[in-house]
Symmetry: C2
Amino acid sequence: MTLDDTWFTELAPEAGSAFSLKLEQKLHEETTPYQRIEIYATEAFGNLMVIDGFIMLSQRDNFLYHEMMSHPALYCHPNPRRVLIIGGGDCGTLSEVLKHPEVKSVHQIEIDERVTRLAERYFPELCQSNNDPRAKLMFIDGIQWVKDCNENSYDIIIVDSTDPIGPAEGLFSEPFYRDCQRILGEHGIIVQQSESPLYHMDILRNMYQAMRGGGFIDIATLFFPQCVYPSGWWTATLACKDQTLTTFREQEAENKTFETRYYNAAIHRAAFAAPEFFYSQIYR
Amino acid sequence: MTLDDTWFTELAPEAGSAFSLKLEQKLHEETTPYQRIEIYATEAFGNLMVIDGFIMLSQRDNFLYHEMMSHPALYCHPNPRRVLIIGGGDCGTLSEVLKHPEVKSVHQIEIDERVTRLAERYFPELCQSNNDPRAKLMFIDGIQWVKDCNENSYDIIIVDSTDPIGPAEGLFSEPFYRDCQRILGEHGIIVQQSESPLYHMDILRNMYQAMRGGGFIDIATLFFPQCVYPSGWWTATLACKDQTLTTFREQEAENKTFETRYYNAAIHRAAFAAPEFFYSQIYR
């Protein structure tokens, strides 16, 4: 069958596949100095944000991505007080980070303010913590920000960006990781979305190489489902400044005082289990 | 954008979503007494089998499903010698099961012989073990087969069927599970594909209820990615006749003597980790 224009379709040309969502209506469309943003109401996935033709998030399933971008890294760190989010303009990651009472400050550096303003309007449930006194939202260039930061400025850096083509390309490069390594404090951890293990092993390989080149000691990948992203299977990759990522504050994760829909301590342990092909291609 | 008829598209109407693969050509199409089977060559997923409009498997990613339908159940059983596969006509599950040297016999009961004959032609890599002397392929009705079997006939039953609508509906029912429970030996385990945790929680709930009603003591669900199935996230549910599913032959899985692409001992442990929403809706 063919899909007409009552569907939003994202192609993954590199994999000859496509994912589509049935639309109710277009809610908004604009071109900012950085990108083209579209917002749709879908039939069954709630509101949908699309940037430059790529699905960013839906109301139905963004909890998977946002929980996995935040809680594993935060529980891997012994005492995460200072968090930097680069990108993350929809504020879903921010709202998860702020669930941790030990977090004292979060700087969110999103280059395009319009992403956040549109999230406030169309994804209000993700923006409820934007006025938390611990959160500071800045709309500037993340690569410049990490260049200018002092040593030991953050405990956790979360790179919640678009794909490594276009404006986000520099966020997957060795000079960027070297800056991140420098501005992280003791036991500091960076976590970054790292695409699909079924479609993008080349990106993952390059990222490992760049992170190692940037001076990180241990690197490990988390695997999780993400229906609206190409292949439906996604990863985030963690790198630690000075120790291995095999332990986490397990007891505290077991007894977490906030609600999640996907993450729990068992999921934390499970998400680090790598498929056999990943061992042979990356961890070998 | 719209997708024209150079794509095969499977709709998931219940979720307002669709997944599509770019085609090179149609290789075969026929209507059997049971269903309509189509085979396509895709641009990047190898050959594709479609039954009644639903994607059954692609050459690129079927390893995920077939490995997870076989190895976890087999390693959960202390000594799996006698295996029954119901459905599974493409023989991918069969070929994984036969990798276990401790397996002495496999009966595969597929209602539609044409599925197997077409798999032999278009998915030959899945059918290389079909002439293994331990394997017996029968093209008859699986529900009738389990009704007619004696007690203690099998150690493992793998239900590798289509969705619980149409011909496979009876394979998700309490009377069927009661027969399975009866024909399993000591420590016997059934494993069955159980749809998407994002789209089909109603099916999972009904399945748990029917399995419990059928007399199974412990039930647990495995989670794994499966790109070509709705939502890209899939499950298989295991049920054991007389004990819990928390242990498995871990050392033997660590030292397995055959190759896999997804499964390993860490993936085995990880796959049983349930998302928080699953705990509250199923395991509560």
